[in-house]
């Protein structure tokens, strides 16, 4: 029996050709780019024939985008939306993680708080907007409140169920090695729950964007949501597309940021995630 043969030698002996035939499916970026260009071309071609009140077309939208950007309107409204988003979502992250950890670890906290958690999560956030407007007025704080409530529950529930999932086996390892409660939180529960927390943040980001736009459309005073209402009621359809596209890009960008954070903070979950996706 030959025992000295290693992988490299085996590969050399087989002398396989390294040239693989061209296969279109191995170039996903190229396919996507072609798809988008084709879509834009068809839209441009047929869009020009439609009444501009109902549908605009890419070059007209681009022109409108330059216009609203140059006037400073888009940037200003975008910043107003983002300000409320950052304050609201930031507090949702802090409170969601904190309360979720407590509820997951301590039964008393769980039973005291979970009726509200489930009831609030089941209530459509839109239904709360009129009430929140009444309480916080038309300014930034009603938007902050709606972003907070939209983002909070996915994070809270994910953190909570994450702690529940890890609490059995992994916590026991800590206990077996004599870890104190603080060490169990720091060295076991926090890192073990991190992937769950990040999954919650990912869902929460989407909900929070929906929340802020809905709130702004209700008040129609400031932000991208207000722009949507103003342009649609004045039939400026080309301009109406600008905040829509910006929101689409924002959604994609935020999701990508959270994904990058996920793989940075929880690299040991990378292989599992790759399998599930």
């Amino acid at each position: 029996m030959q025992t000295t043969l290693d992988d490299q030698q085996a590969l050399a002996e087989l002398n396989l050709s390294r040239v693989r035939p061209f296969q279109l499916r191995e170039y996903p970026g190229l396919i996507r780019l072609c798809s988008i260009l084709l879509f834009l071309a068809i839209w441009e071609y047929y869009g020009r024939g439609v009444d501009p009140i109902f549908l605009s077309y890419p070059t007209a939208i681009a022109r409108a985008a330059v216009q609203v950007t140059a006037s400073g309107e888009l940037g200003q409204q975008f910043l107003l939306s983002m300000k409320a988003f950052v304050i609201g979502f930031g507090s949702a992250i802090v409170l969601g993680i904190g309360v979720g950890l407590l509820m997951g670890r301590y039964r008393l906290a769980q039973y005291l708080l979970d009726p509200y958690m489930y009831a609030m999560d089941a209530t459509p956030r839109v239904a709360l907007i009129p009430l929140l407007l009444l309480w916080f007025g038309l300014g930034i704080w009603s938007k902050v409140a709606i972003v907070f409530l939209s983002g909070l529950f996915p994070i809270l529930i994910n953190t909570f169920s994450g702690v529940k999932t890890v609490s059995g086996s992994l916590v026991e390892i800590g206990q077996a090695y004599g870890a104190k409660e603080g060490q169990i939180f720091r060295k076991i529960i926090a890192p073990a729950t991190l992937p769950f927390i990040m999954a919650g943040v990912r869902v929460g980001v989407g909900r929070a964007v929906v929340g802020i736009i809905t709130a702004e459309m209700f008040t129609a005073v400031t932000g991208l949501g207000a722009m949507l209402i103003v342009y649609s009621s004045s039939f400026a359809t080309d301009k109406l597309f600008v905040p829509i596209i910006l929101l689409a890009l924002l959604g994609v960008a935020l999701t990508e940021v959270v994904k990058a954070l996920q793989s940075w903070l929880a690299p040991w979950k990378e292989s599992e995630r790759a399998e599930s996706e």
Binding site: S169, G178, W268, K269
Partner: protein, 253 residues
């Protein structure tokens, strides 16, 4: 020395209207001498895992007590270390960081910790893999990490809860042999839970055969096969076959 005295444990089902309860352990008593290797053998439900968890201090007994060197066990302690069935590694820690976990909890200087852990990583044959994450190495290697972590605290008693139950048959035999070699140098007292008859005969000085419902001791079998058992193929020894037949009968009856 480890002493189990009249140990009983009952589990109550939460939704059981009669509150009848499941008697996991019923009046278990035995002693383990220093440097002795004991296997607890029995079918699932015989309470062997419950017993080892009580000995580890992870579970409270309802009656009776566990004494380690004459002192009753009330909580986990540094004189006993546990090796878990599903390895119990922390997936976000590297091999080195996992082995360090036990000493890290205790505190103490980092350099000293590293030195001790490096020694045990080498003892279980994992040098070169210190910076790997658990998901990057095989099941057999993961359990070596679990063993190194337990040994790094240099405990008097090593508690092993079906440690080789989750690896394939060949890896299992290899790990059994390595455990024997390691044990020959460290000389811990070992309480080893298994449901494999062959594993128990190969490893143990005494096999405590248990039976379920309620969990109790069926009989103690002394394994008088010579050591070291890896030098010759002890599994081919006719006495090995006799012991296997005897224990199998005990488990049936």
């Amino acid at each position: 020395m480890l002493e189990i005295r009249h140990l009983s444990k009952v589990f109550f089902e939460r939704n059981d209207p009669r509150r009848s309860g499941l008697v996991a352990l019923h009046d278990i008593s035995f002693q383990v001498q220093g440097n002795e290797f004991i296997c607890l053998l029995g079918p699932s439900g015989c309470g062997k895992t419950t017993l080892i968890r009580i000995a580890a201090g992870l579970l409270r007994a309802d009656k009776g007590e566990v004494l380690v060197n004459g002192r009753p066990v009330i909580a986990p302690g540094r004189d006993r270390c546990m090796v878990f069935q599903n390895f119990g590694l922390l997936p976000w820690r590297t091999v080195m960081e996992n082995v360090e976990f036990g000493l890290e909890i205790e505190g103490g200087p980092r350099e000293e910790r590293r030195r001790i852990c490096q020694k045990y990583i080498e003892l279980v044959g994992l040098q070169g893999f210190e910076s790997y994450f658990p998901h990057q190495i095989s099941g057999g290697m993961q359990q070596r990490v679990g063993i190194a972590r337990a040994l790094s605290k240099e405990p008097d008693i090593l508690l092993m809860d079906e440690p080789f139950g989750a690896v394939d048959a060949q890896t299992r035999e290899q790990l059994q042999e390595e455990l024997m070699k390691i044990w020959a140098t460290t000389n811990n007292t070992v309480l080893f839970v298994t449901h494999s008859i062959d594993e128990s005969i190969y490893l143990a000085d005494r096999v405590i055969v248990m039976k379920p419902r309620p969990g109790r001791i069926r009989e103690e079998v002394k394994i008088d096969l010579p050591r070291p058992r890896w030098a010759v193929d002890v599994r081919a020894d006719p006495r090995f076959a006799q012991l296997r037949t005897r224990i199998r009968e005990l488990l049936r009856g």
